[in-house]
Symmetry: C2
Subunit: 145 residues, 2 copies
């Protein structure tokens, strides 16, 4: 199995609300209509998908029941501490809940977290130890991992 | 906020078990030792991180309590139906639980799901409507999205 991730799908409670957040408020590119039944956002070589939570569980052949911390966080790395502050400000204006204000992390970075309308956690972070590529992806430096 | 995802972190119950699955059984590249406190895997322009679930929740300033369906699925797209079968076979041998055997999907693809040791759901899928890039990423065709 090659080390690749192609799509991350978030199961959401209200498609219209979720699409509005990512498409209209954050301004992420999609061809999905505001009332689409599924929405795809082309990110850096991977795709973010929004799909109704119950339908997603059904698709995966698991029970949809579940609550609390999903166990998953998504990190949006940026090139500077200032950009962390800017993005967090933008996310808050877009209706995100700030769950952790930006602060210095023990490992040398500058990190913050917001929750999307379904509670999925995005870290907005500057990691001075990692290089960023032109697409917004990250590459670990050779010496670590 | 640019449409980018840099890192996806899975909060795991047992780091040694999780590292063993991704590193030793699936063979994904990492410099993390088998007993590391955090592990990073360089994927296609993004990084998969494994971190203890309680510590991850603490990092994000949320309660670690939660159970059941995480609401998130991760898709590993491959170039053919045959490769779906091959990867699923490999994942099963690696100790993954097959939660949905490969079958034809209503949207024209060929899809299956397995769960990693913590229950995180990976879809192994062939989507004939999407192009794959040389890194294993996916690009939607211009006409859709």
């Amino acid at each position: 199995m090659k080390p690749t991730l192609s799509v991350i799908t978030l199961g959401v409670a209200d498609m219209r609300r979720a699409i509005d957040f990512y498409k209209n408020r954050l301004g992420w590119p999609t061809r999905a209509a505001d009332d689409a039944g599924i929405a795809f956002f082309q990110l850096n070589g991977i795709i973010l998908a929004l799909y109704p939570r119950v339908a997603l569980a059904d698709e995966a052949n698991v029970s949809a029941s579940g609550a609390g911390f999903s166990g998953v966080t998504l990190s949006h790395n940026v090139a500077s501490r200032e950009e962390v502050d800017q993005v967090l400000f933008q996310a808050e204006r877009a209706g995100a809940s700030i769950v952790k204000p930006a602060c210095d992390a023990s490992w040398g970075g500058y990190s913050s977290f917001f929750a999307d309308p379904d509670g999925y956690l995005w870290e907005v972070v500057h990691n001075p130890h990692w290089d960023m590529d032109e697409h917004g992806g990250v590459m670990m430096k050779k010496a670590e991992g």
